[in-house]
Symmetry: C2
Subunit: 167 residues, 2 copies
DNA sequence: CTGCAACCTGAAGTCGGCTTCAAGTCAAGC
DNA sequence: GCTTGACTTGAAGCCGACTTCAGGTTGCAG
């Protein structure tokens, strides 16, 4: 971490991209294997990235934050042009899908919050009646691992509970 | 899935708990190993759960949805009494911490949403100027894996980018 | 032109959160 | 009292998202 000069053309080395994106170089190579980003090579086989790569990475990171997997992010990314800035319409398509994803997640969280607040506010100690149990219904897009949970039997899904819980 | 009768006392078998919670029996055993839930045993060594266990599970699931790991959920759970319903105060403590967690996550998402909207609204195609890059700053609590990302060098962290991205 | 940081590769390791497997035991309805 | 499905265990496997390792190469400042 001594030199790391930009070089005269505006291609980034993997180290520079790492610094700027905040991702480890190993992660960047991993992303490349997955086809999320691409690099040209120097004659000596070293990767060189265009600055647009930062945009693609920002894309991926944002996608992860709204609960998408890297595979899903790739699908979205593949709709964008690789060698020029995306047009407004192209942007729009991707952004729209994110919008709804974000909205879903926000309302999910607000539902949870409301229920939690309700539990406290009303002083009722039974999660049963508060609906917190039922709040935990099918696979909210949030939370690590939450995706594939509670998705076992669509028909006779979680009925949660009934009765008192004074135990 | 033929019989599965409740039995005359209100202890649940692992199968019944599985049905009601929506978790696989394997997951329930796993939760037990982690100390998230507990069971008594029959003379024949089979697990029997009190219905309060459903509450603990609801806890865990909700915790996951706000981005907590199972370990973190356990910490919260351990503050609650195991053999009686939690008091209002006890509830309150846990709920409060969740409240802030949920709030954080909501504002995070809204920030992301606003920036995304801004990008579209203003027709600007450069994520740089929109700040989407910078939106992807340090480890938002959401998203799988997001936790341990972007946490490499607190001092010289992601500077993101500058300049045009017309590539 | 040398020395050293930065780069390369493929394979293996890690971590969280489970699931699957094999081989055996329990319990309840006929 | 037998049959059959639900249960038991420990060990191993899996998936996503990376990181680490070993051993070798590149490129630029001095």
């Amino acid at each position: 971490m001594i030199a790391n000069r930009p070089g005269r053309h505006d291609l980034l080395t993997i180290g520079q991209l790492s610094e700027r994106s905040g991702l480890a170089t190993s992660a960047l190579r991993y992303y490349e294997r997955l086809g999320l980003i691409h690099a040209t090579r120097t004659t000596g086989n070293q990767r060189r990235y265009t600055r647009g790569t930062l945009r693609r990475i920002a894309f991926v990171r944002a996608a992860q934050r709204v609960g998408l997997s890297l595979d899903e992010a790739k699908v979205a990314l593949d709709r964008l042009p690789e060698h020029r800035a995306p047009s407004g319409t192209e942007w729009d398509g991707v952004a729209q899908s994110w919008q709804s994803r974000i909205d879903e997640q926000i309302t999910e969280l607000e539902r949870l919050k409301a229920k939690l607040t309700g539990c406290i506010g009303c002083g009722c100690l039974s999660l049963t009646r508060c609906g917190l149990y039922n709040a935990a219904d099918r696979a909210g897009a949030a939370g690590p691992g939450a995706r594939y949970l509670l998705t076992r039997d669509p028909a006779t899904g979680p009925e949660s509970a009934e009765g008192d819980f004074t135990e």
